[in-house]
Symmetry: C2
Subunit: 198 residues, 2 copies
């Protein structure tokens, strides 16, 4: 499914260099993040990524090694490593629940990042890659966060629940309002508190 999209190569502003490896690499990575996020791993063609970045396919091999390596790199960028450090453990439950309900002060960048991850998750070829990423950037921090003896299993449960809320938010599209929003936040908060509590 092509959905090709012409995009001018993003060069460093001001300095107009017709040959700039760093800028080309960045443009490719940017286009890759975009297309992997919108189309998923399997439906993304390297030719289209290169075209969108205003570069040639062969440069992808040169700068990244191959499709899988490019995806891994894009995944690394999209997976905000500070995802968890943004939250305060004591108020995590309500903060997260409120964020997932949606509203005026929403973090669109985070949503986009997650869309990328969801697409990655549902593609069999990238599921192992994502699994590794979740291990490293999600489960490990949570385990460290919890610090219990049963942290591994508990971290997994917490991660699963969090993923679900992110997915649901993504699917839902619009923010919740009124009584449904209130009930959603209350129950989600209570649920996460139960998961985090003793």
């Amino acid at each position: 499914m092509p959905v090709a999209e012409v995009r001018t190569p993003q060069r460093a502003p001001g300095a107009i260099r017709r040959r700039d490896a760093e800028a080309t690499r960045a443009a490719i990575l940017d286009a890759a993040r975009d297309q992997f996020g919108r189309l998923g791993y399997d439906c993304t063609a390297l030719r289209d990524v290169a075209a969108a970045a205003g570069a040639d396919v062969a440069l992808i091999k040169r700068y990244f090694g191959g499709k899988e390596a490019l995806f891994t790199e894009a995944l690394k960028v999209s997976f905000r490593s500070d995802f968890l450090s943004d939250w305060d453990l004591r108020s995590f439950a309500r903060d997260f629940a409120t964020a997932m309900a949606g509203g005026p002060h929403e973090d669109a960048e985070r949503t986009h990042s997650f869309q990328f991850l969801l697409r990655a998750a549902t593609s069999p070829s990238t599921a192992p890659l994502l699994n590794a990423a979740i291990q490293e950037r999600f489960l490990e921090p949570i385990r460290h966060w919890l610090g219990d003896a049963d942290a591994p299993g508990r971290a997994r449960a917490l991660a699963a629940a969090a993923i679900g809320f992110l997915v649901e938010r993504l699917i839902r599209g619009e923010a919740l309002v009124g009584a449904e929003r209130d009930a959603f936040i209350e129950h989600a908060t209570a649920m996460f508190e139960r998961l985090l509590g003793p």
Copy 2:
């Protein structure tokens, strides 16, 4: 990504007919449901489906018309079986948590249709299906299930959590074992109970 899987053609028991159009068609449809569910639309190769059904690729064209038509047919079948009616409200929390942990007694068939839908819906070509599927297959039944005044918001929270566990199971691939499994089940159970309780 192939992951081919030999499967003896499922013929009608008793009557051994070497040539049975109906049985062949059913075997193909069955294999298609399996592979579309596990691999998604794009990663499923018709040759593999045919091989798994013990049939030839050309028969897919004859009996279904093409890949898309086969997918539509498989989707129709997977839609019919109801995901939630299988569960007992009183033991849902532990049953679901255990199922999501995975293991020897795992009822793969029960989560199958959801995986099918999730994969189908996150494939760019069939994306619009997702919202409708969630609405119809999760939110409505859960609302009816709960029956409370705050059912809508609560149902959404429950659906989100359940989706998360299904997705996490999907990403994880393998079943949990040992202490991690136990902790996972315990905390997940407690979490769902909190979400279902008063």
